[in-house]
């Protein structure tokens, strides 16, 4: 969420969490390895930013499954809104 608006260094990312710096670095390394984050060297600092293509790929992968259930539940909702109990 932090990285959605700007690229940040590991230090500035860590300052937003109540977690030890090495833990944050470890998380960042994993996310970078999965290509969800990209590193950019800027002088002595390394900046992290989101890889929007990879984020989209992950969202797309689950989306058809979500859509399947969403369609079913929409149908359920429509049917039950029109439902009149038999007396």
């Amino acid at each position: 969420m932090l990285l959605a608006s700007q690229a940040m260094t590991a230090g500035s990312i860590a300052s937003n969490f109540n977690t030890a710096r090495p833990t944050v670095s470890k998380h960042l390394a994993i996310l970078t390895e999965c290509e969800l984050l990209e590193q950019q060297q800027n002088g002595r600092e390394i900046y992290y930013h989101l890889n929007p293509n990879k984020m989209k790929e992950i969202a797309d992968f689950i989306e058809p499954f979500r859509k399947l259930w969403d369609d079913r539940f929409n149908k359920l909702e429509d049917i039950m809104k029109a439902y009149k109990p038999k007396k």
Binding site: D60, F61, I62, E63, P64, F65, R66, K67, L68, W69, D70, R72, F73, N74, K75, L76, E77, I79, M80, K81, Y83
Partner: protein, 155 residues
Amino acid sequence: MELKTKIHAEDGKQELTITREFELPVELLFKAYEDADIVAQWMSTKVVRLENKKSGSWQFDTSDEKGNVVFTASGVYHEFVPNKKITRTFEMGNAPFDVQLEFLEFESLGEDNSKLTMQIVYRSGALRDQMLKLPFRQGLNMAHDRLQEVVNKLK
């Protein structure tokens, strides 16, 4: 816009959770799971058996336009608590997938609203990911079939 149906599938876990809020009283939401005729409508399937009780079993058969059964699913109820909870197993017929365990929780959010939380536990993380990808693959297959049709017409 906030999505009405949400999927929570944590990386590496062998379960996932589907949540959905309905503009329906919880009694009507539950009825949609209890009444065989209604289940048949929203699941677009034939309800062969729906024994709403502990140790009762259920079976759905889905056919194509020609009446051939193309999909069958069945399982057993472990808990059936009206307007509150259903615990059941789910197994696809003629498919190499192991049975899955489903916990459905029905929650009232006031007079006209309710929430369903469906937790599905799979035998392994790999199987969960396979099941998640199934509709994705079906979507791709449909797109490929459609492409084939279009290409055939061009010939």
